[in-house]
Symmetry: D2
């Protein structure tokens, strides 16, 4: 067995954006190559996608249950699987591969109910299988650097957090012809939430990964702004964390003028940090002495873990693929270590089921608050 791992994919057929994006991110470092797939509910699409990727036909499957069993039984079977189906299918697909003993990478949100999420967590733990939930944004080197700076106490105790994720792409009534727009605004495909579940959870997770703050209680207002919409497209959450600090999260798809504006601002007793995912190569830090600094990926000020994931000198831009690639790189490193019995939990820098479960818990708590007139709800 070489150093290049074999992986399979469920979902991500021709026409699907996120599966292709995962494949490119994995390709980047050349540490894993695709060997099997069940890319679509349409077997035809699976065959076409597989052929374009150079996968042998006997490893292109009609359904993921078959794929899980057959790959588990091959000597040269896949060494992890990537689940990039619609949200509703995550749970069953993850379970099938965990039961077959195959490590899983799954897109967020992990599942559509907290119960399912907790089940997967239990199952993965029992099977001792590594499980990554791909909240991509904290994979940026700058985000990792912020995590280390905060953990080192450089900005003191956190007092308040402002998180926002404005987008404008669903500001208009007509989403015809926009495939993603159609399914995201359709309860039959998206469940009980749109904006909050899709992008609000990225705020929740990015804040958690940067700060480690645990939510104590929250109050959510999930508005359906565009006429005719049946799922939230503009949601605000007020939060209290267990350490007594507070936060406000705003996730919107009707904010004309924003592409993908995830922005996290963290205010502590000694300083503050501001990070904006559309400029992921830099962040800003202010200190109690009045200094305002712009810090770049690759500068000497960068910390240990963050430095490890830097591929290019500062000023040579890295982006989304590299952020995702960083997590895959760590995940693969951990899988290899586990195989060599050198693995310890401290090696994990990727988002795990802890992140996945909390993301689903966050959605459920927000729905409970919003459906009851935006009241305070314990987490």
């Amino acid at each position: 067995m070489g150093k290049v791992l074999k992986y399979g994919m469920v979902g991500g057929g021709i026409g699907a954006f996120i599966g292709e994006a995962h494949r490119k991110a994995i390709n980047l470092d050349g540490k894993a190559s695709i060997a099997a797939g069940c890319f679509s509910r349409s077997y035809e699409n699976t065959l076409a996608t597989g052929e374009s990727l150079g996968i042998e036909k006997d490893r292109l499957y009609e359904n993921y249950e078959e794929m899980a069993i057959k790959e588990a039984n091959r000597e040269d079977g896949i060494e992890f699987v990537v689940i990039v189906t619609t949200n509703y299918a995550h749970y069953d697909a993850c379970k099938a591969f965990l039961n077959a003993g195959i490590p899983v990478v799954c897109e967020k949100p992990l599942t559509v109910t907290l119960k399912q999420a907790l089940e997967l967590e239990k199952l993965a733990n029992e099977k001792n299988l590594q499980f990554m939930v791909t909240y991509v944004y904290s994979g940026h080197v700058t985000a990792m650097n912020i995590k280390e700076i905060i953990a080192a106490g450089e900005i003191g105790e956190i007092r308040t957090v402002m998180g926002e994720y404005p987008q404008g792409w669903l500001a208009f009534e007509d989403v015809q012809g926009n495939k993603q727009g159609e399914w995201r605004t359709d309860p039959a495909q998206s469940g009980k939430t749109n904006a909050l579940g899709d992008i609000g959870t990225h705020i929740e997770n990015t804040v958690f990964r940067m700060t480690g703050l645990k939510i104590k209680r929250l109050l959510a207002r999930m508005d359906k702004v565009v006429p005719g919409r049946t799922l939230d497209d503009n949601s605000t959450v007020m939060l209290e964390y267990e350490n007594g600090s507070t936060g406000v999260y705003w996730a919107s798809q009707i904010a004309i003028g924003h592409d993908n504006g995830l922005r996290i601002r963290i205010y502590g007793s000694k300083g503050s940090i501001s990070w904006f995912q559309e400029q992921p190569e830099i962040f800003h830090m202010a200190k109690q002495d009045g200094s305002l600094m712009e810090i770049h990926r690759g500068h000497s000020t960068i910390r240990q873990i963050a430095a490890k994931y830097t591929r290019l000198p500062s000023g040579h831009t890295e982006g989304w693929f590299e952020a995702m690639g960083n997590f895959y790189s760590n995940y693969i490193e951990c899988l290899l270590a586990q195989r060599n019995d050198t693995f310890t939990g401290k090696m994990i820098e990727y988002p795990t089921l802890v992140d996945g479960v909390d993301g689903v818990r966050f959605i459920e708590a927000c729905l409970k608050s919003s459906e009851n007139g935006s009241i305070w709800v314990d987490f």
Copy 2:
């Protein structure tokens, strides 16, 4: 009587920041000159301030009651008065001059109770006296331009508003030696609120002036973050407006890294606008066609009223004094028109008692919500 009006001032003695700032703003255009004053509770300070300003001694008063009566009785008496005392003294001082028939300019917040504010409104209306409340920030040409753009329907119906006013100057426990820090954090001098009353009301007013939105209900969390603090230093408000749209306001004095970060973002059905008071010469507008524009004061895109207040070509920076000066310019223009019987309400572009009363109502509603566990409160 010439075109240069005579005015008096209550408060604003040597050592007080805001009185001097008003005087400079009035000086700028040379349309009024100071002729009388009661600058301090210390008559000594009043005398010294008056002398430095070249005011004749018989027009330097020990108390404002005397000043109101005597100036009203002089043939060359002051033609308006500027009240820049501490908040607690506003009500009595305003009343004294209104009763004497002298038009009033008063700093915000207008009063410390809604009852007082409503009384002043009634009195000024009865006396038919013009009354300006100096919410300075919407005096910027760009803010006026935004008001006109929104009124013209260019960004469609407003859907949501994000207003924030982060400052960092009260992030630390020790405010000794910072005169303003001392009184602002002292309930005996500031009343029941600090951050919300001082800067939160600027968000409320700036949004109101730009959009005309009326608040329907709100929910406020007024946190005392810095150890030992007895008044709020970090406050968040969720709002619903009468037209069904929503808003979030955040006012903080513990946000290290911010000087005076009043920022208003307004999202409509056809476009959005973003304005930041620390860069008051520009604003950003996005439209439904995907265009993102930076608009500068002085450009051909500027609208009618805004254009009227432009003193310098674009790129020649105007700032705080000019914003304040714009309101004084309009106030004086309206006073002169009233005297010439050419005055109509349409001429008013300055903030009036409507703004002043709503500011106090906003504070009271937020206090009621916050003191009751951050519940929803009708406005």
Copy 3:
């Protein structure tokens, strides 16, 4: 004699931009008030302007020669004069007032020939009269702060300077109806240069004031870009300074998209500084340790002289009028000191005839280079 000085003005009649701007800048601090004027070659305009400013009729003059003599002979005569005529008239007007023993403030460029400039310098020195040339931009608090930082050696020895001043307002052939556009592009009114003389000299002066660098030699290309233009509208200068460092200046009026983009970047052996006049409240400094800082007017990092000119707390924007006002404030302070025999040259923080003469020398050297095929010319 009170503390409020009386001043007169030559030029600046109704319709002229810069005279009104000077008057507002002087008004701001209330340290001088206008008492006499010869505002236009049209006496009618002078009378109208004077009346609107409340000047007594016997102090409104048909020509400046008469004004100089009569004001010098009045007991309550003006204590300084402000010359804001067209460039061609500067020399004669300045001379008239210097000869009458009246201190002079003159707009830049000082004169249209170096010979004239040197004469004025000689005359003012002989008469021991203070003379300010209003290169406004280095009057910003941030610009003063930069001067002090560089003088303190914080960025080490200067190695190279990039100065630029792009504007877009003359990018088009048709300047009809744009009064300033008409005379600036007309050699009969503007002399031998347009862009370089009008704005290129601002680069030259701002760099000089910030760094103290003396020009050793230069090479200039003064292009006439817009069809039909007979004066330069896009000029580039390469420079060598006496300390062996280098620079590049670019002044353009055809750079669509720029309003008034004076930007100075200074690179030293230990750090660098970047300043942009359209955001005059901040500047950026980088240090050899890799740190990138944003420094705000009013922060604790601000230095001594700069602090002295701060009128408002940081984040409360100051602009063009305040920059100009700062120089007037210092000029008046120096005049008063001279009268009280407490004056020393160290008190001068305003631009003097040294600045004025060098500005004219710069224009002549650039013309000499450009007219000879853009060759190197000694300064």
Copy 4:
């Protein structure tokens, strides 16, 4: 033969930055995989590098001459080669593979003399072999978009261009331990130029690709600023293009505070464009009507060719690897088309020997000017 091409690499052994960067960029899209290499003058390094990449040992070569011949003779031989050696070795290596009939990708600068560059151009044309010179920065989608916008005449005729590429990494005397710093400042390894050859040529090429402007003549000053340096570290070039427009290029390695600041500003008769490679997802365009726009990769305003290379929705950041990957994607597409006889020159969107030759010509002209006292030199 499948769709995944086999490629070889010369240079890029363990420890070399740029070779690894090319491999990751090629990996991204999975259209080519590495099959052979001569990664270093040290065969040991080649073996180690090859093993880490999973290349069979018989395709790891001691020298590139052997590699060229053997690979050309294999039925499964490489289908193109990537040359990422030091600059001095480019010429011989390129020639070896061209002579063997293998298409070549070569890093810039193409060669160290113009004579060599012209020879390679002649040879590639004779052999009808596609040759890409990897000037990476115009591979960004935004750069391609700008090219199309300019070609469509949207900003009118170009009048002046400001190009700059400041870096700060060589601002200090001590470059010990910085491998790249050591060889770049060493004439024995870098030839006659450092800053101009390394980064100045990126300005030259990016401007050429965006605008198509041909240089007519130029004047260069190539300064050696840091004490002890024998090659230029701060270079300025004034240019005239064949259409009569002008330009200024500035390339510096001593500009503390800059990482990799390639910035191109292009001013036309109807508008202007500004592009900054450290924020490669956006650019700014100003139009004659006064509008200032920020344009994002992925927006509806994006043009045809640019759209083709977009991998992620706007706001999901792409960077350096994707820019390089775009050119490889087009190069491979062209190679496949050539094999299928569907190739036409119009398909080429990658930089060719035209770019490579002009880059070397630019260096030679600058050296000639600078060595003769910064005089004007015909191109």
